[in-house]
Symmetry: C2
Subunit: 443 residues, 2 copies
């Protein structure tokens, strides 16, 4: 689910070209499809003795499985001939209506006609990239950004340019500067990809007061905004913030949504809300990619939204994840050695931590897994090799006591790394410790 | 589900570029994504008074829906935490084992490790194209060929070169000539895409005696075979023929399979069996495209295969489709005017008909739908505009009496077209009529 570009696993195709009779036959873009080092990590992380703070898996066991089971059985009995048949490439119409009601909860007014249902929002991201990106095109993203977005853009041979964030999200002036610079370099940005709310991986939210400014910067530069909002409904404290799409012109934003975090990722139901002309092309691209999504899983989601008290279930999720976030933040304060800092997310799944000076999260990972705790090193979230000082800690999956134990183990590992560093005479450790506004810490 | 490249519908993006603020921002490949004229046809064809011989939808209502319903309910109750969670990009392991047993029924020996589960075999086709095709690359296919394969290759800006078939499928010498010619033109073929058994749309099967020769021709030319076999288990008479993959080297063929016709398309479960190095790249491409397939629908298929008498169900499907095919063939013999010919498929879903000289299946379509019968004109199955004399008739979906009625209506329409043609003085009508070995009729 997460991967780290730029590093080959032992199982990578690149390691054994001589065994491959089709070596030399692949498309140029296939060279940019990179094997996941983190996949091997996940094998380790899934061992029961390891506390995994690596994965971004929602805790689906909090769902009322008996209810979902009965609902699904009834659906197949009553609507089997539709649910088990081919569907339209755009998606089931009643679900697209329900999707609009879900988006309305966050302030977005949209028509079902402008929604395309996709295989998770990941497929929406892939289709947008397919429709817009020629080789060499540039996508601007936050730094750090969602790991699989980087590999998706790479698979279409696009380049990623990062823009720094502070504790209030992406800095509008830096965004404007990046657009200007890219234009001056003759490679104007085509898309601005952003996860503005409870960002993956940084846990940061773009401040309400900056959102119109960000839209304005993109409008002036003629750059399409690609807003990815899988976590917006999972806020644990603070004031709700409206998605960019809610206050933008209909043609300014392609908005991506998902039921993976608010219902279940195994159904693979996400969506894109797009300007009408873009939607037409996304539907064509979807048809060419998969003919249609599963009507069965679409109808399951639609029926869940229409017949179940899913708002109450969302409250259950929020309570559960808030407790886990709090367990992580408490444990970080308790166990992290001085010089370690971290973001304090108001929602979502992730805390972004910064190690004391001179420490390397990637080099530390084998020692962490030996100590029975796993995380994702920061380098995977950058297209340019940055991020060695950082790690992403997920609080979504393990229960609170396991999170606390995992962070305790991690604190020990970091302390040992500091001792190693000091043995080798590296200096410059910060003496601050604790929760931070990531400010200049986020590159 | 089917589309016709090269023709724009009224709703096409190309018709209103001035309304699209992102006009000029799309990738070059987006220009090759073509709106489906046939989509509008399907709206007409789905009116209850119209007999649709157009769609390729299997008749899922023949499934024991109560059994599928109970199975699904039990699955979610017992394995919900897995079924509703993210899965691996390669697919559920136990399903990949079951897939190997299904392929073994047709003579293929394969390891679960070399199988990638996809969102229908359509996604497998898309991922193979993504991994292999650079803009300008050439794919060789049968003429005619599967309509969405043409649009999938077009979406990666590849060119399609057709090779003629006769009643025994693709002609090996013509294939060798095409490879030679393309190499001489400086654009050697990268893939040979083939539906060798009960071909869509022609209903023709590559003769057993030609299969090794076809493999040899591809081997000599260094061309990877992309074998698409969705209908292989739906044979109604004649001797079973082994897939190309069954008698090929492991590295010579990427084989595509699907549960859409043997179980249910709405689950969107298909697969690719690929050489190991190719498989690695397909998994990376799948991860980048959708993260993972739905574990729920994969587990449904796996459980169906492991717990239900699906071989018996397959017999039910075969009996049902045989009856429908026979109804179509009888009705064609009874109602088609002289000069009309058609193929006699031993399995699958499709009959390929050729109109009397001077008639145009595409021009005739509006008159056919007015007469309450629909089909797909042949032009959609060619990349080069050929096929106006042909139409594809599907016998999979309507019951036998409706098929007979539809063909009767079609016969009237053809007779009227002949009268029109004769009024305008076009000559050259053949006087033969009836089932044919498509022989030289298939271009």
């Amino acid at each position: 689910m997460v991967r780290e570009p730029g590093v080959q696993s032992d199982d990578s195709p690149e390691k054994r070209p001589t065994l491959d009779p089709w070596h030399g036959h692949y498309a140029a873009r296939a060279a940019d499809m990179i094997a996941s080092e983190v996949r091997a990590l996940f094998a380790v992380a899934s061992r029961p003795e390891v506390v995994s703070l690596a994965g971004g898996m929602p805790n689906v066991s909090a769902l009322p499985l008996e209810v979902v089971s009965a609902m699904m059985a009834d659906l197949v009995t009553r609507q089997g001939a539709v649910a088990l048949q081919y569907g339209s490439a755009q998606g089931v119409e009643s679900l697209r209506e329900s999707v609009c009601e879900v988006m309305a909860l966050e302030g977005i007014a949209a028509r079902p006609d402008d929604v395309v249902v996709t295989c998770g929002s990941q497929q929406a991201l892939d289709l947008v990239a397919k429709v817009f990106l020629d080789p060499g095109d540039t996508v601007v993203t936050e730094a750090p950004t969602y790991v699989t977005a980087i590999s998706t853009f790479a698979a279409y041979q696009a380049r990623v340019a990062h823009v720094p964030m502070d504790g209030d999200g992406v800095v509008p002036e830096a965004l404007a500067d990046a657009f200007d610079r890219l234009r001056a370099e003759g490679r104007p940005a085509k898309l601005f990809y952003t996860v503005p709310t409870f960002q993956n991986p940084a846990g940061v939210t773009l401040a309400a007061g900056r959102r119109r400014r960000v839209l304005e910067v993109c409008r002036r530069a003629g750059v399409l905004v690609l807003e990815d909002n899988p976590y917006g409904l999972l806020r644990y404290d603070g004031e709700p913030v409206r998605p960019l799409r809610a206050d933008a012109g209909r043609d300014e934003v392609v908005y991506l949504g998902s039921f993976s975090k608010t219902f279940a990722p195994g159904l693979r139901v996400g969506w894109a809300l797009a300007p009408s002309a873009v939607r037409d092309r996304l539907v064509l691209a979807a048809e060419s990619a998969v003919l249609s999504q599963s009507p069965l899983t679409q109808l399951v989601v639609d029926r869940y939204l229409r017949t179940q008290p899913w708002g109450d279930q969302l409250k259950v999720f929020r309570e559960m994840y808030r407790e886990r976030r709090d367990a992580m933040l408490r444990a970080l304060t308790e166990h992290m050695p001085p010089g370690t800092t971290w973001t304090v997310p108001e929602g979502g799944f992730f805390v972004w931590a910064t190690l004391p000076d001179g420490l390397d999260a990637k080099a530390m990972l084998p020692r962490a897994t030996s100590a029975r705790v796993a995380y994702v090193p920061g380098t995977g979230f950058f297209a340019n090799g940055d991020g060695r000082a950082h790690l992403r800690l997920s609080f979504c999956y393990p229960p609170p006591d396991r999170i606390a134990e995992g962070v305790r183990r991690l604190g020990d590992v970091v302390a040992q790394e500091i001792a190693l560093r000091d043995t080798f005479g590296v200096t410059g450790a910060r003496d601050g410790r604790g929760p931070q506004s990531p400010g200049p810490e986020l590159p």
